[in-house]
Symmetry: C3
Subunit: 416 residues, 3 copies
């Protein structure tokens, strides 16, 4: 078992340039968190539920960022919030994936788990997403917890009454009121940064289930978990991203992990991601030839062209849509052990005849979302003893390599 | 107790012309299912929950249609899907009604049932229907199960993102993804045939809770169960259907059972149902005189004229609406043991003074929906031992008679 | 402990003029309820769940108003419905608040309560209100009960199919059908009086969670409970209502308790409330100077100007909005032990810097809503033994005083 089995691209990238992240694997367990991301709060509370009550006279506020002493045997490892993919270092990912594997066993056994009995999760969806919501709610219920649900808080609640994020200081948001009702909040919002603002004012854990064009960290986690499960490793692999790379939140989050890009010119990956990859030493390549790329990659990550992102520009939508299709012909050139992934829902960008191929991993990928979310809920609400994940953490010294091509493809003018 | 106490019209009609259905009651239990309906899958799995996990590399797929050996003492009787009324033969109905009566006892006792503890049901409603949804969810919770709910998946989820049924092969639908999250799916859809397609791709049970102008089998089951409970038999009875016979899904499903029609000319029963009844030897009659018909029938089944089915044609709606009202005058001519049924919600097609009459059966009918749905959930998720329903199945030799008038009424030109 | 710690304004006002209410505290426990409000039904049923089944042949109907023998030691105190603030006399409020304090302990303990295990609550929201709905659902789940939820029944259900309250006799409404599915209904409706009509036809308890411009009794209860908790008493206090006094349902309900009004002229308190207060001997004052009023009051109750109540008249909205802001300057003139309340959600009528002040009570107020709703659910579904609240009821003889200024301010022409 190698520690390299669990890392995000961001961590990965940074690990190539940052002494902190590299030191992390060498100097464990004396490592201290000096994470610059304000959302990467870790705490070692004995019982997080106890700390929910509003302090007399003090407005509800985020838990203080505590110095982490995690990963010392016998100590408890507990997440505070899940806001963005970048907050996770390799140790944390390793711990999360370890718990996710435990969750697979729980889900497969017929017995009802009561790990989260007595805990309430509120799903605050200001933008509808049935799949993501049901995945979280199923995860909570599989662990014996209860759920308060909103299917479309934007239309149905105070957002319709004039409550927006624009121009309002985060501390003035009313999200923290929901902390009265539940022990944890899963939040989907139409504005980038909403989850971070909510986490800053809430005194219970907040999970970002997607914030507009921003982040979707649980999707990124399940994608990485799936690659690890399917390919067996995360280093020395190449991934082809296909589809709407400019607008897709999912693929943007995962892009940190990528080496090869394939997308219609209309919806190319935006320059910020490219710059990020380049500046972090990740080799990447932009291509218009899906067949050629697919023949060389370990993972073909297909995505949907999202009609709703194009507004009235149906001409652009139709031009982009269906340009790159994963079908039996593509399967023919793919390597034997490569896999096809897709965040779902798909339309016709993957043809039906692909489904029966063992390399079609997208339904297994969806199921992995359940396990990752079960793991996160456990780690946010009750934590786990480090003893559980000790073995994984003790593996040190592995060399992280991402061999990616740094041949920059021609960059078409981005039309979006 | 007579086996004739449990049969749908479809079965009934067919039993008059088909040796199979008649043989069924004589040659039991050596009977083998040779059901032509692809949705009538029966299986004898030991634990259906165990089989939910996606097989490695194989897309999720429907369970194979197995040859049924049901109704052999000691064997388990378990439904696979509930897609359409026609899938049920008399034995299955008898078993379902037997379990429904058990459910009445469970619901009336204060003790919390744990029959379905640990099971998750997802209600996927692509078209809103609060009553039907709450009835299913109540049924699941009364049995100790848990629920994942969507109030309007069409507006809120991938349907809004372009996912439709048109032109997409059923195997390419993404319903099966939901099987990751739950152990059973209750589905309402705006397109006819949607539930059948979903069942074909899902590896967990699917219940059709109404698919557009198509079927609404659980409503048909509860209607028949109510007639059986109220009248005490299903043979030799006559039923008057009143209201929107052209557009009402409920009444179309039940029409297979009918003998007499009363409806405004604007919204007469469509020809396909009439032809079906005629070709199956069911006597039926179309009438414009509700009083005369009601005086002779065992059941007056009133329905709502659905405004939304008329679109802009408010003139037609208003002409049809309120033409036939069930009121105290009608009660005056009805037989002492006849009953008034209505699928609810009602507007003013039944006046308030009717409610207090013992013959007003519509609230009891609604409650029966709870029992039927509890029974179906039990039979789909855990099944029941045939020993339970053995006595009912042993009753054989009863003669099924449907004495209906074959005086064809004048058929007005259908305007819809 | 003083009995005056628990009374609504309505009761309070009436207690100044009505012998009944005053006698209530003196002549206890021989007091008999002779409540003129039809919704103030009290019953002493042994097990309310048992009485849910529809009586054969009789439409579902409201429980009979029984003569109350409550508050006799050893007897059970059980509410029947919660329809309007006026239904509660001081004893009932005292009992409710007593149970609410028990609920605080349950909520703070980690152990899962099973007080309402096996009970089902349906939230029928014909108008969306995420906060109120989640508060009720959280309350039910904290007590071990289960929830059936509708986020927007108006849009999604039969209301969209033509079912309205206009012109339909209450007995013809179909709410009682929902009694098939649950043990208690929490109802939010867009029409005033809807909850009362539903309660009249339902044979299970109904809680009014807001009915259009009508009542919102649980909000009024939690407001009074908060004032009691924060100020320590309810007599001899003065409350400043600020904001949209004409349109806000919350503040109208609470207005019965008020002494001082501050509101922009555009949205003054309507005359009916003023007349009510005057005719009941409550001194009140209308002012345009928030600073002056705030310096003298025990409670500053700020409310939101609701944009949606103004329709197209954005000019009026903008004129009214932001005219009176609670900020640090206001905190500077407020008394040391006074508190700021707000029903939430707030926009910018309370600035963010106020949140950290101990006098900012609005988040504690929201949490109190959870305790009040837990208490009501307990009292409606299983009741409590009077022995529990005996001590409070034995306190008699307290003198209720509401010293309020009777200097009528100038009344601007109401534009709404």
């Amino acid at each position: 078992m190698s520690i390299t089995s669990s890392l995000t691209s961001a961590t990965l990238c940074r690990s190539l340039v940052s002494p902190k992240a590299l030191a992390c694997s060498n100097a464990f367990p004396s490592n201290r968190l000096s994470n610059p991301f304000e959302s990467s709060k870790l705490c070692l509370t004995a019982n997080p539920k106890k700390s929910i009550a509003l302090v007399q006279g003090i407005r509800c506020h985020a838990m203080q960022v505590e110095t982490r002493e995690a990963f010392t045997a016998g100590k408890k490892f507990q997440l505070s919030d899940v806001i963005e993919g970048q907050q996770f270092d390799r140790e944390m990912l390793s711990a999360i994936f370890h718990v996710a594997r435990e969750m697979e066993k729980i889900e497969k056994s017929s017995s009802q788990s009561e790990i989260l009995k007595g805990y309430l999760m509120a799903t605050l969806f200001y933008e509808p997403s049935t799949r993501t919501r049901l995945s979280f709610e199923s995860a909570m219920k599989r662990l014996g917890g209860e759920v308060l649900t909103t299917e479309n808080a934007r239309e149905f609640s105070s957002a319709a009454k004039g409550e927006t994020l624009e121009g309002i200081p985060s501390c003035q948001l009313n999200y923290c009121q929901y902390t009265c009702y539940s022990n944890i909040v899963v939040m989907r919002h139409f504005e980038s940064g909403a989850a971070r603002k909510a986490a800053a004012t809430a005194n219970i854990p907040v999970i970002n289930a997607g914030d507009g064009p921003g982040e979707h960290p649980t999707q990124a986690l399940l994608d990485v978990y799936t690659i690890q499960s399917e390919i067996g490793k995360l280093d020395d692999i190449s991934v082809a991203l296909v589809g709407d790379l400019a607008n897709g939140r999912t693929v943007r989050s995962l892009a940190y992990l990528l080496a090869k890009f394939v997308s219609p010119e209309i919806v190319k990956m935006k320059d910020d991601i490219k710059d990020y990859l380049t500046s972090n030493g990740v080799e990447w390549e932009e291509s218009l030839d899906l067949m050629e790329v697919a023949s060389k990659c370990d993972v073909v990550y297909q995505t949907r062209i999202q009609r709703e992102r194009f507004g009235d520009r149906l001409d652009l939508y139709e031009a982009a849509c269906g340009k790159y299709i994963v079908d039996e012909a593509l399967l023919g050139v793919m390597q034997k052990n490569a896999v096809i992934m897709h965040p779902l829902p798909r339309l016709n960008e993957i043809t039906a005849d692909v489904d029966a191929d063992p390399r079609a991993a997208f339904f297994r990928q969806a199921k992995n979302g359940l396990f990752i979310r079960m793991a996160l809920l456990k780690l946010l609400l009750v934590g786990c003893k480090v003893i559980d994940v000790n073995l994984r953490f003790r593996t040190t010294g592995s060399v992280i390599k991402l061999r990616a091509q740094l041949q920059l493809g021609e960059i078409a003018n981005s039309t979006t």
